[in-house]
Every structure is written in structure tokens, then in C-alpha cells.
Assembly symmetry: C2
Homo-oligomer: 156 residues x 2
């Protein structure tokens, strides 16, 4: 991965707002759309989800998840050239109070101002997914497997 | 689901070109980006994938998959209002010759002209995913669970 591709990966994770989240539902994959926020050091992706949502019920049963963040289709000739990155990791529910909650809340509201109402609802919580690894497709035939450490280096 | 939402679902499945595909990889979810084509009657989504790709290896091991097709993020205030639909089903590899192959090839090349090269490569094949059910989020708080039959009705 050259420095241009590293920058492309960082722009992708910081620039997009939604990811496709894969969870396990009765042992089979289930994919849904979630808003996410990448931590500055790419040490985790943060979600804010309702306990009433299927994906949250799934994560409470089995914390293994995968996310794909992709460049939106811009009607280019070949959609296979769209940049995307798949992360795999374990989802951990975060506390609903304390300094860390305050930090996440400020960052989340800055990114998603319309989500203020979720902070008045008891069924919403932050979840954090620390990537175990990543698979970055920079374009056609340019696929890179990254360790969590290599992903963090892309954040610099 | 009212007739406006039914039309919205049909537009979504016909208008988008890429989906996030969830497969099982060593028992955990793995999500990747794929090009897809919806059959006219929504009886199946068709993929054309390489045997070398992780998701194909996964489907050869366990055919249970899920896909999400989402409206691309258009920088609206609240990305949670983006329309999306999750399908769940079983992926079945299709023959690489015969009349049905010819039909799929014509439809695929019309949608993805840049993919012509994949018809000269032995590792590519069509896979068909007949949805067992669908979960359509038309917008905030407008979520509908659809049977395969209800999904087919949306195609009319």
C-alpha cells in the first residue's frame, strides 16, 4: 500500500458516515445500515444504536461483527472500482455515563446533530468496535489486508 | 407499507448497483461490497463473483447470506433517514453455460458493460440469492418486514 492509498483509506473512514454492519442472527449473517464515527486513531469505530434494533439484539447475543465502509456509487462506468474497507472485530457496549461517555457524546453530536433525541431515550447506547483486522480495496485488483496496527498507522 | 413506499422499495432495488454482502467466515460475519442485479420479479438478486474472492469462498462453505442495498449518503442532515433494505437468503451458484446463463450474461453486460472481461475468466460465476424475507427501512421509524411473496408484489 503506497502513501496515496494510505491517505485514501483514511479519507474513506473519516469521510463516510454510514457503514453496513454484519451481525449474527440465529447463526446466519444479517446486514443492516448504521451511522458510525471512526475514532481519530482508527482504534475503534463507534456506533449509537437502540436496544430495540435487530443488530443490537444480535450483538448482545454474539459480539462478533463486521463492517464495510464504501465510497458511494457515483455512477462511474465500473462500480467494482469503488473504494471500500471491511473491518472485523468484537462489539462492546459502552457505559451511558462518565467522562468517556461525555467525550463520545460530544463527538457524536458534532457529527450527527440530528441524533440529539437519542440522548433522551433509554434504549440507545454507544457500542465500540475495535478492528481485529481490515481488508481495504483501493480499486480494481488493489486489495490489502491490514492488521489493527497497520490500520492505526493509516490514521497518522 | 403504502403504495409510495412500495414504489420506493422497487426503485431502490432496481436503481442501485452495489450491495453489502454478509457471509459467514469461520463462523463470524464478514461484509464485503458486491455488484448485483435484481431479477425483474424480485425473485432473486444475482451476483457475479470470482472463486478467488473471500465472499465466494465463504458461500461455498455456507450458503447463508444477507445483503443490504442502501440509498447512497447524499450528505442530508440525518443519514438515519436513508432508505435501505436487508435481504436474507441462500446463495446458489449458477451454471456457466446454457440458456439461463445466456439470459443472465446479457442482462449483466447491459448493466455492467465493464465486466465483459469476467466472461473470459474461468474463476467467475453467477450466484443467485432468492430472498427468504426482507426488511425495508423506508425512512426514520418506517420499517417493514416483508415475506418473499410481499417482495415479489413490490416488483409489479
Amino acid at each position: 500500500m503506497d502513501s496515496g492509498e494510505t491517505a485514501q483509506l483514511a479519507r474513506l473512514l473519516r469521510g463516510q458516515r454510514v457503514a453496513a454492519l454484519g451481525t449474527l442472527r440465529q447463526g446466519a449473517p444479517n446486514v443492516s445500515l448504521v451511522s458510525y464515527l471512526a475514532e481519530a486513531d482508527f482504534g475503534a469505530l463507534v456506533l449509537r444504536v437502540s436496544r430495540l434494533a435487530w443488530h443490537t439484539q444480535d450483538m448482545l447475543q454474539d459480539a462478533r461483527v463486521s463492517l464495510v465502509v464504501a465510497e458511494p456509487d457515483d455512477a462511474r462506468a465500473d462500480p467494482q472500482t469503488l473504494a471500500r474497507v471491511t473491518l472485523r472485530g468484537t462489539a462492546v457496549q459502552q457505559p451511558g455515563e462518565g467522562a468517556e461517555f461525555g467525550r463520545l457524546k460530544r463527538a457524536w453530536l458534532e457529527r450527527f446533530p440530528q441524533s440529539a433525541v437519542t440522548f433522551e431515550l433509554a434504549d440507545f447506547a454507544f457500542w465500540s468496535i475495535a478492528p481485529r483486522d481490515a481488508r481495504f480495496v483501493a480499486g480494481l485488483g488493489r486489495t490489502y489486508n491490514l492488521s489493527a496496527e497497520a490500520l492505526r498507522q493509516a490514521a497518522n
